[in-house]
């Protein structure tokens, strides 16, 4: 693979692009499967290879619906105790790798993986705990519409998503499924729980 500048942007879904634009060489944290899929879908749509390590509950149909090209998807459902080595090997050849770490990782091991990410210009999306992340995206509140007392079916979902970036104030936005798109403009930069700025 040709070498790329480390801060190069990686294709992201239109609904996420101003919320969490993915940058090559960075690690992102998520807290749910739907967000993890949404993070990789943009790159996969753009023709990149993606991989999932430690996700035995991969939902192939949902991924395909979101635009993940299954023929360019590599799964290692159970990487066992050597999941760090497996992830590093996947990062070598894939553009975006989703990892569900089966155990906590220390800062040193994460640092080794970080440098590997930078040299290969790949993106790591961690579903779980990770020492240092560029941004952590989590679902704050989720509402499904459709089912009413046994009738109907699940139709659509709206979720309030919070993006936290180190010391910077959190951002909040509403996303709507199916097909991740924005249901509301980006809210003011301030975290509302601590009171708006000014």
């Amino acid at each position: 693979m040709e070498s790329r500048p480390a801060r190069e942007e990686v294709p992201t879904l239109p609904g996420l692009v101003d919320l969490v634009p993915l940058h090559a060489g960075a690690t992102y944290g998520v807290d749910s499967a739907s967000l993890a899929l949404a993070m990789v879908a943009g790159a996969s749509q753009a023709g990149e290879w993606v991989g999932f390590a430690g996700c035995p509950d991969f939902g192939a149909e949902a991924a395909a619906d979101l635009g993940v090209e299954l023929s360019r998807t590599v799964l290692v459902p159970d990487p066992g105790e050597h999941w760090l080595e497996v992830t590093a090997a996947l990062v070598d050849v894939l553009r975006v790798v989703v990892l569900r770490p089966p155990a906590t990782v220390d800062a040193r091991a994460a640092g080794i993986l970080d440098s590997r990410l930078r040299t290969r210009s790949a993106v790591l999306v961690v579903w779980g705990e990770w020492p240092r992340v560029e941004a952590r995206v989590s679902v704050e509140e989720s509402r499904w519409t459709g089912p009413v007392d046994g009738g109907g079916r699940l139709v659509s979902r709206q979720a309030t998503v919070v993006v936290r970036r180190g010391a910077r104030p959190a951002q909040r936005a509403d996303l709507a499924w199916p097909g991740v798109h924005r249901a509301s403009p980006l809210l003011p930069v301030a975290d509302q729980r601590h009171g708006a700025l000014g």
Partner: protein, 526 residues
């Protein structure tokens, strides 16, 4: 030109029984769409005929072996028969599975009877028990001569004797030529023509007027004037490649290193015939005996490097006692094979024209890199720990997808374009649990929720939890369902079950299955 025809009656039954490993005298029938297509002698003795429905056939002969129609299997099983005859006399034409023609061997065997006896003996020795031969001036006569012969016998029609031989045959011998033949037979019988001789005695132009082109061809053949020639096949090239090690090798690393040039030779040889292999059987021999054999299917086609990888995985899997255990294999573990290998052989099982697999002029380089990287991961965690997701048809979310080992082709997928009634509508779940954890769903009073035989929910779900620390007790904020299914009830399936979409208090939705064995959590929508 004299023609020798070899006829193996009821070939699809013979081939089906051989593949099923049943003795050849078992009463058996090949069915297509629940209608008997071919039955064998023992089944016919019980009254099973072509055109019977499955249950009629089973009523006549309860221990009837039912085989499915499979043209590929028949052709495949006929290949050794062709090869046996080819050994004696080149220029064999396979007319259809079970029937072959060859130019009658002439003076080499003395007489034609001697030639027929030699061919017959060779075939019986190769394990084809029911074989009949016919020799005549033309193909049609020779085929019918073979059909009148006894088991392991032959019928020789003297030169110029075709018309006399055919004259006495009843018209229903044409039924073997398919629907067109059956139609003509029915018409001829209604016209009062019972033998081919009666037909041959009619004026040719009148026959063509009444019976059309096919009738005219039958008329010409019935007069022993069959002009049909057959195209002899070219024997398929020998594409197997093997390498012998002297002295035998004991470590996988050494073997994989040594097969590299052989793998290149294998692919070069295929490329010379403008072919590529998409399925290869790798056989490893130790002390003359087969110690490991496995068929590998490639999603595209095998390159030398892929073959070397397959040899590595195969011998590694056969050698280590623990098999494909999770985790990194230690060097010591991966190095040993069970017995010293003295020969490795590549047999192409599926070859396709290279033109169908041509690579684009530009590009493909990045994919190549991925292949290599993934092969490295496979080396770390075992070849079947790396998967590729594919979609297939089904009702439950886990049935609608399959995780295929990387580098293998997906086989036996259910068609996705069928309606699959009973599947849960709505967006597909993002998490599909391979081993669904047990769950509990109760109503307000704490009674477990169930579904009656009529698909009615006994009480309203109010609270649910999932075992294994996945979800503690929580209230149901919304629910939808049930979507009842009763899959494979004809084959003792899992029984009636029903699916529910349940939204928990935290806003996450789940797919729960209420089966006779209790509730399970099948999938999550997040």
């Amino acid at each position: 030109m004299r023609v020798l025809v070899v006829w193996c009656p009821d070939w699809s039954v013979v081939a089906g029984l051989a593949e099923a490993g049943k003795p050849p005298r078992t009463p058996a029938a090949v069915l297509s769409a629940n209608i008997v297509e071919v039955s064998n002698g023992p089944a016919r003795a019980e009254g099973v005929r072509r055109g019977h429905r499955r249950r009629d056939a089973q009523a006549r002969c309860p221990d009837l072996e039912l085989l499915t129609a499979n043209a590929d299997r028949d052709t495949r099983a006929f290949e050794p028969v062709l090869a046996t005859v080819e050994d004696l006399r080149p220029g064999v034409a396979a007319l259809r599975p079970g029937l072959l023609a060859v130019r009658a061997p002439g003076s080499w065997f003395g007489t034609e009877a001697n030639a027929a006896a030699t061919v017959c003996q060779a075939l019986v020795e190769s394990g084809v028990w029911d074989v009949r031969l016919g020799v005549a001036d033309d193909l049609f006569t020779a085929e019918h001569a073979a059909r009148t012969a006894e088991v392991q016998g032959w019928e020789i029609v003297a030169p110029g004797g075709s018309a006399a031989f055919l004259r006495s045959l009843p018209v229903h011998v044409l039924e073997g030529e398919g629907a067109q033949g059956r139609e003509v037979v029915s018409l001829l019988q209604r016209l009062g023509l019972t033998t081919l001789g009666d037909l041959a005695a009619l004026p040719g132009d009148a026959v063509e007027h009444r019976l059309g082109r096919y009738g005219a061809s039958v008329w010409r053949r019935a007069r022993g004037e069959d002009p049909a020639l057959f195209a002899a096949r070219t024997p398929p090239p020998e594409l197997d490649v093997e390498v012998a090690f002297e002295p035998p090798l004991e470590s996988v690393e050494a073997i994989t290193f040594s097969v590299r040039t052989t793998a290149e030779r294998f692919c070069d040889q295929l490329a010379r015939h403008q072919l590529v292999a998409t399925g290869v059987r790798v056989e490893a021999y130790s002390e003359g005996g087969l110690c490991s054999a496995r068929t590998w299917l490639h999603p595209r086609h095998f390159a030398p490097r892929d073959l070397v990888d397959r040899v590595h995985w195969q011998l590694q899997g056969a050698g280590s006692v623990s098999g494909a255990s999770s985790g990194l294999r230690s060097r010591k573990d991966s190095g040993a094979v069970r017995a010293p290998i003295d020969r490795v052989r590549f047999v192409p099982e599926v070859v396709e024209p290279a033109a169908a697999h041509g690579e684009a002029l530009w590009g493909g380089g990045s994919d190549d890199l991925v292949e290599r990287g993934v092969a490295r991961v496979q080396g770390m965690v075992g070849f079947d720990a790396v998967r590729r997701p594919v979609l297939q048809g089904g009702r439950s979310p886990s049935a609608r997808q399959a995780l295929v080992p990387w580098g293998e082709r997906a086989v036996d997928l259910r068609p996705i374009d069928r309606p699959w009634p009973g599947r849960v509508p709505g967006p597909p779940p993002v998490r599909v649990f391979a081993a669904p954890p047990a769950a509990e769903v109760v109503d307000e009073g704490g009674r477990p929720v169930a579904v009656t035989e009529r698909g009615v929910v006994t009480c309203e779900p109010r609270r649910f939890r999932v075992d294994g620390g996945v979800l503690p007790w929580q209230p149901v904020s919304a629910w939808a369902g049930p979507w009842p299914v009763d899959e494979s009830w004809w084959a003792g399936g899992a029984g009636r079950s029903a699916r529910f979409q349940v939204v928990g208090a935290d806003g996450r939705a789940w797919l729960l299955l209420c089966a006779p064995g209790g509730w399970t959590l099948e999938a999550g929508y997040d």
